[in-house]
Symmetry: C4
């Protein structure tokens, strides 16, 4: 009897904590998002010297209150989850754990409590509260595009890496420590700053030869940004095309058909739309 | 009788002020655009110290003249509009009101008269005077592309926000106040400057670890610009395709014709649009 | 008789100067390109202080020799052109004239001889010497894409202009002259530097509010670069598609058909490919 | 007999050194990649002053060991290669030779040993060890896209070159040496820094006219990045489309199938690839 009641309580908790469809569940999620927002803002404010001096005491109290609430919530999540182990090692399970850790760590390691900004990752739950389907659809297209492009992106990054190491070493030899290129790793940092068109200007070539090579790096960087853009665009165009057609094969459930397909490309059955 | 005459006068005013098809209406619009242009230029010039010293008096007189003209025009617009209330709360109605406000406000609040540059928004009326249809078509494709992509863009911005907050906090811990990262909000500002590849160089990492993390942020920023570009490009391609698709062949129902097609490309039948 | 011989001479000159198909014509064009290259390099070198001091005399002699050669060539071009007037007012005719002007002008106006770098525009003739058709095809696709997108680009530039004027004025009010924002035009310059992600860092916001607004401008700039890219990409995709199909209607000579067209979209005649 | 045995040994060596399919061959390749990685890291570390001082001796020993190993490997490669000459003049053959050269050169020329970072190019062999086909496919699409776009890219680079030379000369005349534009080549360097949106800020315009022209260059740079992006994107879209087009239905001749299609989407017939 007790066990059954407890089970019912766990069930109720589960619906409130893990789902956002019931009024209570939605209220819980919205309250949680505000708490996360509040605790991130506090971490940001606490790092501003003038606010730290005047209000550190108050901010510390709020941080501890929020952390205790989050700890309680974490325990309740484990308690009410249908598969506690798989929750604990899920993406959000790990984030939830890491979100409460820094405050406790700050008792032993000074400064570590700034790490609570990791709570911003909990904020990704916002898509649960918003009309979810559309955003999940949008995320799916973006993630699928990136996944489908991963081989091209690895090749592209290897290309970038090779260019910046070679250019960094060349600039180190050409410009040398007297012009700010104090070591090859630092010259590689300069090459990345230049190739990505960030251009801080903290290190910049001074010699004519160095400026010529730098111009070369800039034009390469300016031109090859076209490559990842082309990769991703081609994928998104393809994914958008696929996801917008509602053609699902009744026989084999394959849902990746072109808009003009008449027969299923997997099993050859006729498609009715 | 008087009422009827007044109504005619209102009608005439309406045609002149709100339409650009009659010679008088076009003249009014062109004159208005020049006045807007003049008053924005005056606001710009008045802010230049050397001009402010020498010609502030004259510029002030012109500004007041233009403001009085704009006020008169605003009153006449309300008077002649068919639905005054809906004009007042329309986009251009609000802009027209905000455009005359700063000059009057400047009597009470010093410096507020620079806000008259908001008049630049009135300048968007220029598309009324130019051959309108093509530009409105172009704007429509751009706006529709952005509207259709809004869910993907929200997901993308949430992604950016999460990255800059996490990177900002990490850099604050790594570099610290002695290297210019005086607070987490300021470090987040640095992360935005870096991720968007702006790279002022007013704050830049000094430690080896900080430069490594910064390189990482730059490459992310350089690569993920592909994402909004991909989203918008895929949409514009689709929108451009669709907007030319009003043409459907009556014989074979083919609806994929170019905008300038006269005959169906599949069966050769004449297209009526 | 004399007239006829003179005509033959003009004809020969025409073939050498204006065409690149005969050995002599090609030799002439290649020699001309080397001369242009030489004279631009001289202008660049002459502006370097250390070279100017040591070799100004020699460089001046070379410049005058090249200019006299170019003047002779210009006179011969007018003499041998089939329609001298239309040559003079053609794109290359004007460039050819402007290319010899600065050296003569330098007799009266000091420093104006640096303008001879305009000769770089003559260098565009290089596509005549290279295997022309492919490059002209490539240029055509690029130019057609830009022409077809011009309405969208005008709308986009108007959008940019409105944003930078408003943001410039706002930053002038927020940051003020004490932080480098000395006037609204200068603040607009800052807004352009930031929006285009150039980010010199010669002017950068110092206040928290200014940095927040600047972050906003950067993210806008980072995101809306997607718009021109999307516009141009959609056009190039369309243009490439069109230009790569060799479908030309035998009846009406229309060559802009889709790759899957069976009938001419202009006259309805069947297409044989 | 001796010759036959030697041949077998050569064969065995060939399989180990040039192929990655056998366990020994894979082990050899993985060990080689780690050695390359190690030797590049050593070159980077050795350039850092503080490490150079303390550990230069040790690093030098490791460098010589690695170089001797690489030399042995190079000799064995030539010995075991089926066509030694064609290996020596292949891309990787030249890289392998250049990779051992700097260490020997450093005996005669001080500082030249930093050039061993060229070994990073040997690292491109990593795609041999990874599941190769997919990455080679991805590289192929990227390289084909660039090759197919080369005419458009040459036209685009010529366009860029013309703009930066003209703008550089104009800025030299407008701003002059007193504002950092000390020569036309340096002004061209500034124009490249600005047009590519790198924006170091080491040279930046100070006069109103210069800033206006600079704004113009920035907006051009911001807009025309769309051009290479559009070119490459259009190509990748086309290449991706083509590469999946090996599938042609034997029944209805439809050749537009996805890469994972098993049945024809038009007639439902089975596809044999």
């Amino acid at each position: 009897m007790n066990s059954s009641k407890s089970k019912t309580f766990r069930e109720k908790l589960y619906v409130i904590i893990f789902e956002a469809d019931t009024p209570k569940g939605k209220l819980f999620d919205v309250a949680l998002l505000w708490l996360i927002f509040l605790s991130v803002i506090i971490a940001l404010l606490d790092s501003v010297p003038i606010i730290h001096e005047k209000a550190h005491g108050w901010l510390l109290i709020v941080e501890w209150c929020v952390t205790i609430l989050f700890t309680t919530e974490y325990v309740l999540r484990i308690y009410s989850a249908r598969k506690p182990i798989s929750y604990i090692f899920s993406f959000f399970g790990i984030i939830d754990f890491l979100s409460i850790l820094p405050t406790y760590l700050s008792l032993f390691i000074v400064g570590s409590h700034y790490l609570i900004v990791i709570r911003i990752l909990r904020f990704l739950r916002i898509f649960r509260v918003l009309k979810m389907a559309r955003y999940i659809g949008a995320s799916k297209v973006l993630l699928d595009s990136m996944t489908a492009s991963r081989h091209k992106i690895v090749v592209f990054l290897e290309m970038i890496l090779t260019i910046v190491v070679l250019m960094g070493a060349l600039m180190y030899i050409i410009e040398g420590p007297e012009n700010g290129f104090t070591s090859i790793p630092r010259s590689i940092y300069w090459a990345i700053v230049t190739l990505t068109t960030v251009g801080y200007g903290d290190i910049s070539p001074q010699t004519a030869l160095g400026q010529t090579l730098a111009s070369f790096v800039m034009i390469i960087g300016y031109a090859i940004i076209a490559v990842p853009t082309g990769i991703i665009t081609a994928e998104i165009t393809r994914q958008s095309g696929q996801s917008s057609n509602a053609l699902v094969c009744k026989k084999c459930k394959n849902d990746k058909h072109d808009a003009d397909a008449v027969f299923c490309k997997q099993c050859g059955a006729k498609l009715d739309c």
